[in-house]
């Protein structure tokens, strides 16, 4: 409901409860943990040598639709981006120059993610979303250098909506990840968990069980129920401690079994935001230095209402995310197979997919044919990702077309012979091998040249 009295000055959304205040500590702790984790993540990225391997070595980059203009910088520039990102993560952790640091981090991190979809990870997308949200929140009102130095007015309380919106974001991730698991492979074949567990039977204590189908099936269902229920169990105070124990158990297990990098740690830290006022009070009893000396509210009660423009923006922000999650309904076929609408929709660990693709080029002016092995041009990671994703195969075909048309001045056709295997099924031809990819445009329309998926098995 709009507050008519405020419309003439600064329009504000006055939804019941949104102006309620809560301790600023959870948000401040969240900021510190987020900053620290992003610092570790960035250091890890550098230490792995991935700046060079992902951004500098490859001669081709698979950009996202509409973001073809995003290009990697030369080596110095790329390392500068990482250096600035390191600084911003430290400043976020310390709460110094918070607003500019979080804006900087969001822009730099998102720039890196937009460079090449071969390196797309769901949790990178999550980090981008979270850092965008954090731009609008006041997590630097306590436990921050900004507050200590008087750069911002210190406050013990912040509007509760600033907590709720992060919870909403997390709930959305879990919920759609749970919905995505409602597919026959996951629920009845226990795939791809069956494959991944079988490959980890040497894991201490529980590894011996991973050979059994019923264990994979049980874990698939537990994972699905976990994703669907955990946001609600975390929201509800009575179940919260147990739910958080489940969060710990779930993410530690996934960290042990799967090579998913920082994801479990990001979720472990992020879900801490569900602990509320009373939990914080308990914390301040254990750690008295965190307890407020005098109560300061941020901002004033009236200003705590969400500005209309921000609420519209945030409304769009969430609607857009939900739209992305549902966009696969606009495409025919199985989304696990076609991958049309797969990214940015919390389809986490749903597919064990492998592929192999060989390109044949034809010079239409001279009639000459020749083969192109993608390994001549792509890094192993790029090659792996491209081999089972039609949009990337199309992009690479266009890269080949453009390169050879430029060097020969002739008309070039590009054909792909691609074989893909999904969740333990035998490989099958993925694309129409007779389709000239050079003549197709790269757009978001359904790709009729992806061959139908046959649900056979060995």
């Amino acid at each position: 409901m709009l507050n008519p009295g405020a419309v003439k000055t600064l329009p504000r959304l006055n939804l019941a409860g949104l102006e309620r205040q809560g301790s600023s500590l959870p948000l401040a702790l969240f900021r510190m943990a987020f900053g620290l984790l992003m610092f570790i993540s960035t250091v890890r990225f550098l230490a792995m040598g991935w700046v060079n391997e992902f951004y500098l070595v490859p001669q081709v980059h698979f950009t996202y639709f509409g973001f073809g203009w995003v290009k990697p910088l030369p080596a110095f520039g790329m390392y500068l981006v990482f250096a600035l990102m390191l600084v911003s993560t430290l400043l976020i952790t310390l709460g110094l120059y918070y607003r500019i640091s979080i804006i900087g981090f969001f822009l730099l991190f998102s720039y890196l993610e937009l460079l090449d979809k071969s390196f797309y990870l769901n949790h990178y997308y999550f980090v981008s979303l979270l850092s965008f949200l954090l731009i609008f929140l006041p997590p630097h009102k306590s436990l921050s250098l900004d507050a200590c130095l008087g750069r911002t007015r210190a406050a013990n309380t912040v509007p509760l909506w600033t907590h709720q919106i992060i919870k909403l974001q997390l709930a959305l991730v879990y919920f759609f990840a749970g919905i995505a698991k409602l597919n026959p492979d996951w629920l009845f074949q226990a795939q791809p968990l069956r494959i991944w567990l079988r490959a980890n039977t040497d894991l201490a204590l529980i590894g011996g069980f991973f050979d059994f189908f019923w264990v994979a099936l049980l874990m698939s269902w537990a994972g699905m129920l976990y994703d669907l229920c955990i946001p609600f169990l975390l929201f509800w105070r009575k179940t919260r401690p147990f739910a958080y124990l489940a969060v710990i158990a779930f993410h530690i297990l996934t960290a042990l079994v799967f090579p998913i990098g920082m994801f479990p740690w990001i979720m472990l830290v992020s879900t801490l935001i569900f602990f509320d006022e009373r939990d914080v009070l308990r914390l301040t009893r254990v750690l008295p230095f965190l307890s407020p000396k005098q109560v300061r509210t941020y901002p004033s009660r009236a200003a705590a209402r969400l500005p209309l423009i921000s609420s519209i923006l945030l409304g769009f922000f969430f609607m857009f995310q939900i739209g992305l999650c549902l966009r696969h309904f606009a495409y025919p076929g199985n989304v696990l197979w076609t991958e049309e609408g797969y990214r940015f929709s919390w389809r986490v660990m749903l597919a064990e997919k492998t592929g192999q693709v060989l390109f044949t080029l034809k010079n239409n002016d001279t009639g000459e044919n020749w083969l192109v092995f993608p390994s001549e041009y792509l890094s192993p990671q790029q090659q792996k990702q491209m081999s089972f994703q039609a949009d990337m195969i199309l992009q690479f075909a266009h890269f080949l077309r453009d390169g050879f048309e430029k060097s020969t001045g002739d008309d070039i056709s590009v054909f792909a012979e691609a074989y893909v295997s999904l969740n333990g099924r035998p490989s099958q031809l993925y694309l129409d091998p007779g389709q000239d990819l050079a003549k197709l445009s790269y757009d978001l329309a359904p790709r009729a040249w992806i061959l139908p998926f046959f649900k056979s098995s060995y």
């Binding site: 991935w50 992902f54 390196f119 990870l121 769901n122 494959i195 079988r198 490959a199 980890n200 040497d202 204590l205 529980i206 590894g207 011996g208 069980f209 050979d211 059994f212 049980l218 537990a222 976990y226 229920c229 179940t239 147990f242 739910a243 489940a246 158990a249 799967f258 090579p259 998913i260 990098g261 920082m262 994801f263 064990e352 997919k353 492998t354 192999q356 060989l358 080029l361 010079n363 000459e368 044919n369 020749w370 192109v372 092995f373 390994s375 192993p380 990671q381 090659q383 792996k384 050879f404 020969t408 074989y419 893909v420 295997s421 999904l422 969740n423 099924r425 035998p426 490989s427 060995y458």
Partner: protein, 353 residues
Amino acid sequence: MKIRIPLFLCLLIVSLSHAQSGFDRHAMLENIALNVVLPCHERFVQAAIAFEEATERLASSANLAKLETAQAAWKTAGSSWAHCELFQFGGLEIMILHNQINKRPNLTQIANAINSDTELSSAFIESQGSSMKGLAAAELLLFSEQGNDAVLNQLQNERQRQFLLALAQNLSAKAQELVAYWSPTAQDYASKFAAADGADGSTKGSINMTMNQLISLLEQINREKLATPLGGTEAGGTARPETAEAYLSQSSSERIVANLEGAISLFTGANGLGIDDYLDSMDQGLLASQIIDQLDAAREALQDLGSLEDAVVNNPERVSQIFNVLKNALVLTSVDAANQLGITVTFNDADGD
């Protein structure tokens, strides 16, 4: 949630009282290390020593009989090496060692060394880069497009013979280094491999490496050893036999046959447990036998082919057929088997999902 805690406790308790079930991957890796990889390298050492001895006789004085003996010994060493070529497991030092044994040579550098005053010894070769070492460098001195008279003529130059001997001595030393690297009585990489102390500290590490090497070899054979000499990777498509792996010695097909024998022995574990048994334990026996059939079919076809260098010019359809058989083997390995085994077909450990 109420279900989860008892569930985990239950899993924990039963697992503690339960030995590891199913396929014994450790035993498979141990078998591959001790009964496939190590014997292969030991045979390569024997072949390298035989080549060194033949070269010693040639170095004292060159004649046709000695040259032919040395050439035959070189071919045997080349095939023995090709058999082991895909066992490039371990760190950077093994990659360097493999390069030192067989990498495309630099003819100019070799000619410069021969024409200089430097003492030509195994130590000199050791101090040089990979492009002046190994089997491929020796091929340049032992074979010629103009025939053996031309080679003998070249070998009248004593420094040419000295260089050849130094190459053979260095090759034999490198072969022995490889055996020492794997041998349980020396550096014992075999144990590390079996314990999979390779990529990620689990048995998946060595299985990942094994499958990736197999996939990499099959792609290399198709791309570099077959498609390129066929002229299939360039517009125009004219055969380029000179790009075949062992063009001067006309022994490229023997090399690929040995490559495939190595691949088959790795996949089947020779007479013990191999990847095929592992797949079989997952009810994927059919897939395993399809892979073996394709590899075998390609190997037999190459054995019947004779000279690859001739065939790419005079019988390109037959070479294309072999290419297609190996392409099927590559799909079955890198797509179907990799999917079943849940391995990462990539050479880095970038995070997933």
